[in-house]
């Protein structure tokens, strides 16, 4: 028991150390592009983690994550533009985006989550497609695909402030989601993923668990959208397009589903790769079609590498631990 406690503490010491490194990072390395890139990675890490709650912990596939991202994106940019660019309005807009995302994901979940998983995937794809068209048509509010620029709260004009705020959000979301998946509630979610019929037979109302999970994921995705538009000070309909969903999927799968840390690692890998590919594309135009590369990597990952980077490492690590424990036990037995 004591041994285990020590281990947990060690884990959290590592965790806070890593956080500290990232807090200090912009003060040590004074590189504006690097700060911006890291900010992007953090934002997408939030999005990918929210996706992991669905795919990795509840075992449901949503193709509508871009829609929730878009709710946050539009709530924040519209309010910052039309009311004022104060910090209060910014926080308020985050809440508005989350509420909209929460309501929509609740309704979608209620309607389709009791059906086969195909329905949810299809339904979310259709609904998010319709919301995308809505955003394109409602030009008076969104200015469609041209989009619009707006002013971010004054305090964020210093990139480092915004970087720190996003990092804070990432840590907060990570801790909350970890708390969520490690709670008794989260254990039921994993049981739903493993075998829904059996979980149902044990007397759990699985639909309730699935809906709560999908609302959680939607709300977190909306936060990512709010942060993303502030980082760009610009919004357009591409933020609701299917590419955003695919991004989240790719990051989650490459990083490792059902691990929460995986999506963060995945976000870093994908964003860095994109960043470098866009540099390469300047000399080799073929790299402008980076979706092809990512798409192929993604397909191969689904077939051959379903556990992702973190999942695979974890498996290796745990395998080694088991071997070690067995060896120790054998020694004890021998003694």
């Amino acid at each position: 028991m004591e041994h285990m406690l020590g281990k947990i503490n060690l884990k959290s010491v590592y965790f806070w150390l890593i956080v500290l490194v990232f807090v200090l990072f912009p003060f040590v390395i004074d590189s504006r592009p690097m700060t911006i890139l890291l900010t992007q990675i953090f934002i997408f890490a939030i999005l990918a983690m929210s996706y992991d709650i669905l795919l990795g912990y509840t075992g449901i596939v949503s193709f509508g994550h871009a829609m929730f991202f878009g709710f946050g994106a539009y709530a924040t940019s519209v309010m910052l533009k039309n009311i004022d660019s104060s910090l209060t309005v910014f926080f308020l807009s985050i809440i508005v985006g989350m509420v909209i995302a929460g309501i929509v994901s609740f309704l979608i979940g209620l309607l389709t989550l009791r059906l086969q998983s195909h329905f949810f995937a299809m339904f979310t794809l259709a609904v998010s497609g319709l919301f995308l068209v809505l955003a394109e048509k409602w030009r008076s509010l969104t200015q469609g695909n041209d989009g619009f620029t707006f002013r971010a709260p004054e305090i964020f004009s210093d990139r480092i402030n915004f970087y720190l705020f996003v990092l804070f959000c990432l840590v907060l979301v990570f801790l909350l989601l970890r708390l969520f998946v490690n709670s008794p509630f989260g254990k039921v979610l994993i049981a739903v993923k493993e075998n829904e019929t059996r979980t149902k037979a044990l007397g759990y109302k699985t639909i309730y668990y699935k809906v709560v999970s999908s609302v959680d994921a939607g709300v977190a995705a909306s936060l990512a959208g709010s942060l993303y538009v502030v980082s760009l000070r610009f919004v357009n309909t591409s933020m609701m397009a299917i590419d955003v969903t695919l991004n989240a999927l790719l990051m989650t799968i490459i990083g490792g589903v059902g691990t929460l840390v995986g999506p963060i690692v995945g976000a870093a890998i994908i964003e860095l790769a994109k960043h470098n590919l866009s540099i390469l594309a300047k000399t080799y135009p073929i790299f402008e079609r980076w979706i092809i590369f990512f798409g192929i990597i993604y397909i191969l990952a689904v077939i051959f590498f379903p556990k992702g980077v973190v999942g695979t490492l974890k498996e290796k690590w745990e395998g080694r631990k088991m071997v070690r424990q067995q060896a120790m036990k054998q020694k004890e037995d021998a003694a």
Partner: protein, 286 residues
């Protein structure tokens, strides 16, 4: 009256294009529980192939046949490379077909460039007829006829031939069909290729109708097709025709009378179906 007829023709022709996409989707799902999210990509490939064949041969017949062949070949590749490795695993299957959708849509840009391409109606089908006060655009009527023709042919195959019977039985219970000595995977490959060919035909017919083609067109139409599959009932061939016409007509009327609702109307129909009849209007499995 004139208006009503024209709106109906518009709605029917859009409905038929959706039907060509949705009918394949519904049979593929019905037979093997595979929901092919790459289906819209096959539609877009059909459109590009059709325009390309037309531009080099100036024959619309060749263009349509070319599109069908390209669709069937792509269907073969998709089934072998994408569906089969994750066969029977629902989540990876959904994930992988969506990934493939993006790859093949992007490939269109590599082959034909990233910009929109104009498509023209062949001379024999361009223009319109004037019947009294009513102006009927020939090409739209042609699409409607093609839609009914395809429906008729496949309805006959499903109802009257042995392979059709096996497909219908497979949709109801694919395990039992195998236990009766039928290699369902081979049947499925055939159905998949046929579905892909129909989607490609739909794309090739769509191109002159809309006048331009672009790589993302597949996704837009696929969303309508998914709505149709939900409404019609997964696995039902007649259901997909009925629902496609319903969605096409509703969109056409609403766009004129209540434009603000035209988007929402498909959504509303789908939600109503999911609440009151989640198995779809023409449920196959009891």
């Amino acid at each position: 009256m004139e208006l009503l007829i024209n709106l109906t023709i518009n709605g029917l022709s859009t409905g038929m294009l959706i039907f060509l996409l949705a009918s394949g989707l519904t049979l593929i799902f019905g037979l093997m529980h595979v929901l092919n999210f790459a289906h819209g990509g096959l539609f877009a490939w059909g459109a590009y192939a059709g325009v390309w064949f037309y531009s080099i041969t100036s024959s619309f017949t060749v263009a349509l046949i070319g599109a069908i062949i390209v669709g069937a070949l792509l269907g073969f590749i998709t089934e072998r490379l994408i569906i089969r490795p994750v066969y029977g695993d629902v989540v990876p299957q959904i994930l992988i077909t969506l990934g493939f959708m993006l790859v093949i849509s992007e490939m269109l840009k590599v082959v034909w460039g990233p910009n929109q391409i104009a498509a023209t109606v062949p001379p024999a089908l361009s223009g319109s007829w004037e019947i009294g006060d009513v102006l009927i655009i020939k090409y739209r009527l042609f699409i409607i006829l093609m839609g009914f023709l395809v429906f008729g042919i496949f309805y006959y195959i499903l109802k009257r031939t042995k392979i059709g019977l096996i497909v219908r039985a497979g949709v109801i219970n694919n395990e039992m069909v195998q236990a009766l000595g039928i290699n369902i995977k081979r049947v499925f490959l055939l159905v998949f290729m046929t579905g892909a060919a129909l989607a490609a035909l739909g794309g090739a017919l769509m191109a002159p109708y809309s006048g331009v083609i672009y790589a993302e067109m597949g996704m837009d139409f696929a969303i309508l097709a998914f709505i149709v599959v939900v409404i019609g009932g997964m696995g039902s061939f007649p259901g997909s025709l009925f629902a496609a016409i319903l969605v096409g007509l509703a969109g056409s009327y609403m766009a004129y009378y209540v434009p603000d609702l035209s988007l929402a109307v498909n959504m509303i129909i789908m939600v109503l179906v999911l609440i009151f009849r989640p198995q779809g209007l023409f449920a196959v499995k009891g």
